[in-house]
Symmetry: C2
Subunit: 159 residues, 2 copies
DNA sequence: CATTTAAACATAGATATCTATATATAAGAC
DNA sequence: GTCTTATATATAGATATCTATGTTTAAATG
């Protein structure tokens, strides 16, 4: 994914679509671009999904279950099981059985996991600076509440 | 992906992150929610990626190459090759060799493809109505230009 | 015209994601 | 105390996505 730097005036293939679809298309493209940029900055082997889990656990300084993590990241439980296993394979987290309830396995970040998260955050700094330079903070602050509102509505529409 | 209807006041795990990251997290969640809602409304077997290709070609009434489609959808070429093959397997598109340049295969929507796209659009109408009812059009119009600006900047940052 | 470069596409291998379903354990009902 | 139901994960199978690389054909170069 690297060609097509020619700027499109609107999302391809959606000329005349309802405004809601146009916004969703724009959001989809932004998400994809950001994800790829983000990914390319991360240390070798570290993915956005994996980084997000480490960051979540370390920032909140907690040891959550797989279901809790799936909930927090808004992904399906098997998705989180898979991501957690990747982290476990690399030694970045340890899965600890809960003594009281043997169904539960708590995800605990290891020292290696904390180190790689720190490294990842350092790698991301230049990109964050570039973004701050290119787009005024005010624009980001302006749209956040409206995006949040859209998100809450969409969340409520889920079956 | 269906639990977690409890409303979060901010993206989990990013408390205190820079505003840019908060917006990106919100965009990521919206994208995921919208994609899933969208997907669930589509006819059995039809995916968002596949629908997008059919919709693009039929709306513009063109027969593009795989590379052109990848470009329009902003995905990598092998991704589009895969999606097009799925559509071909189902008989929704036909791949026609260009006589002048035998490297090129144009993607042509079949009658069955046009029919299934029509059906898909009909399936999506109720959701579009709900969105229009829940969120004022003005909100969508307000954020579109700002999202577009963000997208253009991100596109320019690509390696 | 032969060789090299470029373009279009295919293939391989990996991760993330979903749905559907199975398994193991805990909690409730009787 | 069984039996049933609910919860927490795991497994299976599918699509979408990426990067890296191979193959085929066209174009450019000499």
């Amino acid at each position: 994914m690297k060609e097509s730097h020619e700027q499109q005036t609107r999302p391809a293939g959606l000329e005349g679509d309802p405004i809601q679809f146009e916004v969703m298309t724009e959001i989809g493209i932004i998400n994809q671009l950001a994800d790829n940029l983000f990914q390319n900055q991360l240390p070798k082997g570290m993915t956005v999904a994996q980084f997000s889990v480490l960051n979540h656990l370390l920032r909140l300084d907690t040891q959550e279950t797989i279901s809790q993590l799936a909930n927090a990241m808004q992904v399906a439980q098997p998705t989180m099981s898979s991501t957690v296993r990747k982290l476990e394979d690399k030694g970045f987290v340890a899965l600890v059985h809960e003594p009281d309830d043997r169904r539960i396995r708590r995800v605990c970040v290891t020292a290696a996991g904390a180190a790689v998260r720190k490294e990842a955050i350092a790698s991301l700094t230049p990109m964050a600076e570039t973004l701050r330079r290119e787009i005024p903070d005010q624009l980001w602050y302006d749209i956040l509440p409206q995006l949040h509102q859209i998100r809450v509505i969409l969340d409520g529409l889920r079956p």
